[in-house]
């Protein structure tokens, strides 16, 4: 089972290098402590592991390799055994904390691993875990941690990203699933190759909760199908990252997600009310677990969230730190594409025909006529087959997305729009879905 331990070989071989970190601050960490630091705005910080073993959110650090973290990064370097680190550059805060819930998280991982073993032995499906909690409790970090630990043991877990506001897989406003095959890069996070992405279109599930639940079911469906044909994926199970909206419809969406994915374990971070409610509303065979949040979790402001969103879109087009990709800009004629928006505007109940409910409009596909107000909007290129015979709304709604483009300019006279696209023309498909999210290409 533990035959394959990826990404570990490099670490040992590199141990001979000389310690360069004389310019930086040196930190000596005892076992089971962590170094937390935030990078100041406009600055970069270099981290180097001088001796011992350390990990960042479950990804191990290579000794004597310099890791660079961009402005605004909030990093925790944890060590199980003790280590010494060197930090170069301006940090907003940098301190060593002894109080980390890592041991609890590790125990949670151990339990999940036990389940995977049992699944492997009994030829069953592995654990499906849903991580829930209010905003800013470290849900994404816990997901990354558990995935990293699993993949380091040779598992092939799947990350299901349902947080439409701060997606760690694709651009914001999407719901996605990603098969994890190697631990996350310390700097970049999980390598995003061939994710399954669905278009949601907004940064809060509340704008169209019906669509949100539908796409959740879609993802669950696809994941189950994958588990049926891929044994390792089935054993690896999935880790579902959710939104921080845990009241009202947001809570209902969580319960719906649990039943759609048929989750086995729910990890509740830091909120006892949510824990009790889920215990009440989920059947007894679902293990609901309450975990504390880490003291290192920082509350992100609205601006901060918007910035990360923006950064995520920029990363999609220009690559990590804007260095690796070169997007294309070209004109697209209005007549060549069909642009839709999901969800008709809600109309007063009195105007609805007898027996029709408001919900039906939320899944409607509304054609958008291209105009100047399209400028800067992010558009998803739907995988739905281009067919001449009108919009097949069902198909488009449940089709994954093959890419994103941003409208940079609209010329209504010439009936063309200029788009920023990761690939050269032509567009692979001609069905575009409009997002509420806008991206202005400034840098």
């Amino acid at each position: 089972m533990t035959t394959e331990v990826p990404e570990k070989s490099g670490e040992e071989s590199l141990s001979s290098g000389g310690g360069v970190g004389s310019a930086g601050t040196r930190f000596d960490l005892d076992k089971e402590t962590e170094l937390r630091f935030e990078v100041e705005a406009g600055e970069r910080v270099q981290l180097e592991l001088l001796s011992g073993l350390a990990e960042v959110f479950g990804s191990e650090l290579n000794r004597n390799k310099k890791y660079t973290f961009g402005p605004g990064s909030k990093i925790a370097v944890f060590t199980w055994q003790g280590c010494s680190l060197s930090l170069m550059g301006k940090t907003e805060v940098a301190y060593v904390s002894k109080e980390t819930p890592m041991l609890l998280y590790l125990n949670a991982h151990a339990a999940l691993e036990q389940m995977r073993r049992q699944a492997e032995r009994d030829n069953e499906r592995g654990p499906r875990v849903m991580v829930v909690g209010p905003t800013d409790v470290g849900k994404t970090t816990v997901c990354r941690l558990l995935l990293n630990y699993a993949v380091r043991l040779g598992r092939r877990p799947t990350l299901v990203e349902l947080d439409v506001g701060q997606s760690s897989v694709s651009v914001p406003g999407t719901m996605s699933a990603l098969c994890i095959e190697r631990p996350a890069d310390v700097e970049e996070g999980f390598s995003v190759q061939a994710p399954l992405v669905f278009h949601f279109g907004s940064t809060t599930p509340g704008t169209n909760i019906k669509l949100y639940n539908k796409l959740t079911s879609c993802l669950a469906e696809v994941f189950s199908q994958r588990c049926e044909v891929n044994r390792r994926a089935s054993v690896g199970g999935c880790i579902i990252n959710t939104c921080g909206w845990v009241k009202g419809s947001g809570y209902q969406a969580l319960v719906h997600c649990a039943s759609a994915f048929q989750v086995d374990v729910v990890l509740v971070l830091d909120q006892e009310r949510l824990y009790n409610e889920l215990k009440r509303d989920l059947p007894h065979f679902v293990r609901v677990v309450l975990l504390p949040k880490s003291g290192g979790v920082v509350e992100r402001s609205k601006d901060c969230r918007r910035e990360t969103r923006d950064e995520k879109i920029r990363e999609y087009f220009y690559g990590f730190r804007g260095a690796s990709f070169y997007p294309h800009a070209f004109d697209v004629r209005f007549s060549d594409v069909r642009i839709y928006k999901i969800g008709a505007p809600s109309i007063p109940d009195s105007c609805l025909p007898l027996g029709m409910s408001q919900d039906d409009t939320q899944l409607k596909l509304v054609p958008v006529s291209p105009g100047r107000d399209l400028t800067h909007h992010v558009l998803s290129v739907s995988c739905a087959e281009d067919e001449g015979d009108g919009p097949r709304s069902r198909g488009i709604l449940e089709s994954p997305v093959c890419g994103f483009i941003v409208v940079t300019a609209v010329d209504t006279q010439a009936q063309v729009m200029t788009v920023l696209s990761p690939a050269p023309r032509p567009l692979p498909r001609h069905t575009l879905l409009i997002m509420d999210i806008r991206f202005i290409d400034l840098k």
Binding site: L104, Q225, R280, P292, P400
Partner: protein, 520 residues
């Protein structure tokens, strides 16, 4: 008694016959001007002397009132002439105070409409001559009122309101500003106003009151037909929903499979088959795992609350890099957990409490407890749902006509009313413009409130307080079609129905009705 120059010779002689002596005049002045009180109406003759006496008394009072001689100052009397051909009364001497609210000028002559002249005759302000002879009140009723000018009923309503102090004039449909004009708040053009005054004559209300009944019944049937049509259109909608959803479920499956394959093709990597896929997993799915959580220990702070234990060190083989860690003290974390209370607004908190009151732990259910996995649980839920359908009383649900809502489907009144809105609340004006026009009912008068009299201008009457449609107690009750027609004709001014029952006048109006809704 004062000299009146305008009156022709012959008349003067005639009038002089009716001149009173001073003693007679004093008697007139000291006479009571009180109108006897009508009192309660007698419904059935009970044959008693008391009743007969009462009736006789009230009749006598009535007769004395009617027979009473009217004494007016000759100088105050405005003389006028009835011109039957034009159906109006032309003034022969300058008009009095009444000119502020009544009458109109036609080619430099001051004129009165018949009903105005009759009312002023009754008031003792105008003496109307016909063929150079003054008309008595009785003659006035006979000459001036006719189906072509104004019916008795209409005049009764007119007089009643005038006596109460209202300003009443004839209604002219062309005077109602259009919706557009109303929205812009356009002033009424002056020339239009004067035109109206002239045109009035031809617009005698009640002229068509004696129309055939058949026309209205025709309309009614057409309206009914329309309604039926609408219902028929709506019904199929209901039926469509269910089957469509069914098919989407299926197509969704197919689609997502296809699409996944597509996306993978692009990245030259297959989402499904990068590993040695084994098909038998599908079989295993059915016998879903049953985790033994007593062996698989999760660090659950929620359940450790009671017995704050320490977690045993996990098996190193389960950990990445064969880590060896010590045991974990849970108690320490219990204290740290969620120290900050959740901030809920008062409304949120109340709503949550309300919700929690009716919520039970689903695991209290024995059948749910017996489920071992999601498959069984979801099956159970599905079975219950269909059972609920089955358990419904057959006499209600298995016939052509079924209840409008399912039990438990609607929680609030609002939901229920929305669900069963077979008769949706509608605006009175809705669709009225499309209705076929009928002449049977018409608006007769504009009514202005008494307190506006001081500022009232005939040329600029402004917006009426209400508009009146006069109908008889014996006649038919206006139907919805009529009400709609009249209210659209009247624009933003409400329409009141004046119902005349042998001199007794009652006023009715129709108000819009909206379905009640709950306010949270």
């Amino acid at each position: 008694m004062a000299a009146n120059d305008g009156v022709p010779e012959a008349l003067q002689v005639l009038l002089s016959d009716e001149l009173l002596s001073p003693s007679e005049l004093f008697k007139e002045r000291s006479r009571s001007h009180k109108i006897p009180v009508k009192g309660q109406k007698e419904f059935l003759p009970d044959g008693s002397d008391q009743q007969r006496a009462r009736l006789q008394k009230s009749l006598d009072e009535h007769w004395t009132l009617v027979a009473e001689e009217r004494v007016e100052r000759l100088g105050n009397l405005v003389s006028a002439e009835w011109i039957p051909k034009e159906k109006l009364v032309k003034l022969l001497s300058p008009a009095g105070k009444f000119w502020q609210t009544m009458g109109f000028s036609d080619r430099g002559k001051q004129c009165l409409l018949p009903e105005e002249a009759l009312y002023l005759m009754e008031c003792g302000s105008v003496q109307v001559f016909y063929k150079d002879l003054p008309l008595s009140i009785q003659e006035g009723y006979e000459c001036l009122l006719s189906p072509e000018t104004m019916t008795l009923h209409q005049y009764q309503v007119f007089g009643h309101l005038k006596r109460l102090g209202y300003v009443v004039n004839r209604f002219d449909p062309s005077q109602v500003p259009s919706l557009y004009e109303r929205q812009l708040n356009l002033p009424l053009p002056r020339d239009m106003q004067s035109k109206q005054l002239k045109r009035k004559r031809s617009q005698s209300p009640g002229s068509r009151l004696c129309e055939k009944q058949s026309a209205t019944t025709m309309e009614q049937t057409t309206v009914e037909g329309e309604c039926k049509g609408e219902v028929q259109i709506r019904e199929p909608d209901l039926g469509h929903v269910a089957p469509e959803q069914g098919t989407t479920q299926q197509t969704s499956q197919d689609k997502s499979m296809e699409c996944v394959a597509n996306s993978d093709g692009a990245s030259a990597r297959n989402w499904w088959t990068d590993m040695s896929g084994q098909a038998q997993a599908a079989a295993a799915q059915a016998a879903a795992p049953r985790w033994d959580f007593s062996c698989i220990v999760f660090p659950d702070l929620g359940s450790h609350r009671a017995n704050s234990a320490t977690l045993a060190a996990p098996d190193p083989s389960l950990l990445p890099g064969a880590l060896e860690v010590g045991e974990c003290k849970v108690a320490h974390w219990l204290r740290k957990l969620n120290l900050k209370k959740e901030r809920l607004s008062r409304r949120d908190w109340e709503r949550q409490r309300e919700r929690d009151r009716y919520k039970r732990d689903i695991n209290d259910d024995r059948e749910v407890r017996r489920c071992r996995n999601w498959m069984e649980y979801l099956d159970l839920m599905e079975k219950r749902r269909s059972q609920q359908h089955k358990e419904r009383p057959a006499h209600l649900w298995e016939q052509k006509v079924t209840p409008l809502t399912h039990p438990g489907q609607c929680i609030s009144h609002r939901e229920l009313l929305e669900q069963i809105s077979i008769i949706p609340s509608c605006d009175l004006l809705e669709g009225a413009s499309r209705l076929p026009w009928s002449d049977k009912w018409r608006i007769c008068f504009n009514v202005y409130q008494p307190d506006t009299v001081a500022e009232f201008k005939k040329s600029h009457p402004g917006k009426p307080y209400t508009r009146l449609c006069v109908c008889s107690f014996d006649g038919p009750v206006p139907d919805l079609c009529v009400i709609k027609q009249l209210s659209i004709l009247s624009g933003d001014v409400p329409v009141t129905f004046a119902v005349v029952d042998h001199g007794d006048i009652s006023f009715y109006c129709f108000k819009e009705f909206k379905l009640p809704t709950d306010i949270y």
